[in-house]
């Protein structure tokens, strides 16, 4: 909330300044590198970024790494040789993406990271959410569930994303560490399987697990696509309401399911703040505005109680 306010203030101040000055000079070129536009969340980031580019009247060159760090660095290098003034970068991988940032460093092009942060290289600022925070929110959800169900031990399925990917590791660590600090690590039992963030795979995995054993208390997933796949299965087994579920992202479909009571919760990620923020970060840097090293946009745990607040945002950036 605080970060959003901060950005709104900046918008006001600089909009006035930018208004006059922008017309005098040539359109600046900002390069944007996304990790994988096939992910709906990243596509929402793109929409928000494009909105920001239009509003700021800058020329944005966009590229897609398609989850491949080789493609990523190739993209960044071609953008650098084309000539960009600033790079807005969403890391595909924690370590391998450092090469792309260093390539920009060598050409003295400032780098603003958003959403995913790589583990090295020089950058001006990181605008995004601390992914471990989303894990913490999942942990909070589970802690609340534990209290609510007042059973000595909880058993659940944990659907993970792509093995080794930045966000997956961060969410896992965040959740497990929170539960450890809350003293619940022993009391909650996870059956973990990787489902590659894929709805279909999550469906298959959940099918097999539930056929073996229906007595799970909850299912959590590292993204909404997977929890929705699991939901299909839960529906078919008529276990809606008996198995408690939560995902991460805040897709419109999930919010609708929360409203109807099929899902318990999700952890909302703000694509507008992150995607737009990346472009804004570059713009402000080029205007020589001093930015803090990190602009963190918090996650929010969405439940039936507060779901309506987020439906509007989701509808703005997600295509139906």
């Amino acid at each position: 909330m605080k970060a959003r306010l901060f950005l709104f203030v900046l918008t006001g101040v600089t909009a006035c300044a930018a208004g006059g000055a922008a017309r005098a000079q040539e359109k600046t070129a900002i390069g944007i590198s996304y990790q994988n536009l096939a992910f709906p969340y990243v596509a929402a980031l793109q929409k928000a970024a494009e909105n920001a580019c239009k509003a700021l009247d800058v020329n944005c060159i966009e590229t897609d790494a398609v989850n491949d760090t080789n493609k990523e660095i190739a993209n960044v290098e071609s953008m650098l040789s084309k000539g960009i003034s600033c790079l807005a970068f969403e890391a595909a991988s924690l370590d391998a993406s450092v090469a792309s940032i260093e390539a920009a460093n060598k050409k003295s092009v400032p780098v603003v990271q958003f959403n995913g942060k790589a583990s090295g290289g020089q950058y001006v600022t990181f605008i995004g959410s601390e992914q471990t925070d989303s894990g913490v929110k999942l942990g909070t959800y589970l802690a609340g569930l534990y209290k609510q169900l007042s059973k000595p031990k909880l058993r659940g399925i944990y659907l993970r994303g792509v093995a080794g990917q930045v966000t997956d590791i961060a969410r896992n660590d965040g959740m497990k560490n929170y539960l450890q600090s809350a003293g619940l690590a022993e009391k909650i039992d996870f059956t973990e399987q990787y489902a590659d963030y894929d709805r279909g795979k999550a469906q298959s995995v959940t099918e097999s697990l539930l056929t073996k054993d229906r007595n799970y208390d909850f299912i959590v997933a590292n993204n909404d696509d997977m929890i929705l796949g699991a939901l299909q299965v839960v529906r078919q087994f008529n276990l809606v309401g008996k198995i408690h579920m939560s995902g991460v992202d805040g897709l419109p479909e999930t919010l609708a399911a929360i409203k109807s009571g099929a899902l318990d919760a999700t952890v909302f990620q703000d694509p507008e703040g992150q995607g737009g923020g990346g472009v804004w970060g570059c713009y402000l840097t080029l205007k020589h505005v001093n930015l803090p090293k990190e602009l963190l946009i918090p996650f929010t745990l969405v439940t039936k109680a507060n779901v309506d607040q987020f439906v509007a945002i989701a509808d703005r950036v997600y295509v139906k």
């Binding site: 489902a195 298959s204 097999s208 054993d213 929705l228 479909e253 609708a256 295509v319």
Partner: protein, 328 residues
């Protein structure tokens, strides 16, 4: 007086009919062995419900593998099946999202199949009439179809109308619809390959292309047709898949081509052409399905599952080559 018939040596036909029998029926034994293994370790594995679940889970890959068997027998291959599935699925989903009317329902069910046929025809034309190597041609269409659909509709389509779920989730006499569709297509494929002139020609073209041409067979047309068949199967698979998921995504189907090829190869189809049977392909798919289901139940991590399947594929191809060598 030298007797003419004495001049003939013992027939040089090669020994060991059991070599061929082993290859063709060995995978049935392998499947039974796997089922026995998992049944012993996991009580829940032995249920009828779980058996149906396994067949249900392999149904999409199985349907695609039926079409893939045709192309592999002609010494060709279709790598574009996963991307084509995504295209057909998204287009189907667009109509399935709309409020239910006779028109939208008809379109939702027929569009994916038509797109499958069209995609297959494009592949077939490039391979059969332009003479491009099938591996390259379908690698190109894999990339092109995927690029197109991700550009066209990157966000998933959900909120599909309830009627649409009948294909993926309906049941007929206690059998899930996808299983029924798989069985019907498998029977159709078997009949075509074993009892029709066209099926015979498919084997001929794969076994010795030049001999087939010399025998007056229209090799180009037969080649074109098998890719259309593969596309048709993909269209049906897309319908089943999207209906099961009740959502359409542009990123679906990645890796399906390898799974379908694995099913055919484990089942004994030869990538050099001329060999392959629908029944064996289905068994190959079931072997992979049993492994997946069993491993998940045993809580084996997914990367280890992949290792196993990889080893089995290599073993199956090695066995095929070793038994071929014994024959000659």
């Amino acid at each position: 007086m030298i007797r003419q018939d004495d001049l003939r040596a013992r027939s040089p036909s090669l020994p060991l009919p059991s070599a061929a029998v082993l290859r063709d029926y060995g995978i049935y034994l392998a499947l039974l062995a796997l089922i026995a293994f998992f049944s012993a370790r996991i009580p829940e594995f032995r249920t009828w419900d779980n058996a149906l679940l396994i067949v249900l889970q392999v149904s999409v890959i199985g349907i695609i593998a039926i079409g893939m068997t045709f192309t592999i027998i002609t010494a060709g291959i279709d790598l574009s099946v996963g991307s084509l599935l995504a295209v057909a699925g998204i287009m189907s989903g667009l109509f399935a999202q709309r409020p239910e009317t006779p028109l939208t329902a008809t379109l939702a069910f027929t569009v994916p199949i038509l797109l499958g046929l069209l995609g297959g025809a494009v592949n077939g034309a490039i391979v059969a009439f332009a003479g491009v190597n099938p591996l390259i041609a379908t690698l190109g269409s894999l990339t092109a179809y995927r690029g197109f659909i991700v550009w066209f509709r990157v966000n998933p389509i959900y909120g599909l109308q309830p009627y649409y779920g009948v294909v993926g989730q309906g049941q007929v006499f206690g059998l899930p619809m996808p299983v029924l569709i798989l069985v019907l297509l498998a029977i159709a494929g078997w009949v075509i390959l074993s009892f029709t002139r066209f099926g015979r020609y498919v084997y001929a073209v794969g076994g010795n292309r030049e001999a087939a041409r010399a025998a007056g067979i229209n090799v180009a047309l037969v080649t074109f047709a098998v890719y259309v068949i593969s596309g048709f199967c993909v269209g049906v698979a897309a319908l089943v898949f999207t209906s099961r998921l009740m959502a359409a995504q542009a990123i679906s189907g990645q890796g399906f081509e390898l799974q379908a090829i694995a099913a055919a190869v484990i089942g004994g189809a030869s990538l050099f052409g001329g060999r392959g049977r629908i029944s064996n392909t289905i068994v190959g798919a079931l072997i992979m399905g049993v492994l997946f289901n069993g491993f998940v139940m045993l809580d084996v991590p997914q990367p280890i599952q992949q290792m196993f399947i990889g080893v089995i594929i290599v073993f199956a191809v090695w066995l095929d080559a070793a038994l071929r060598r014994r024959r000659h």
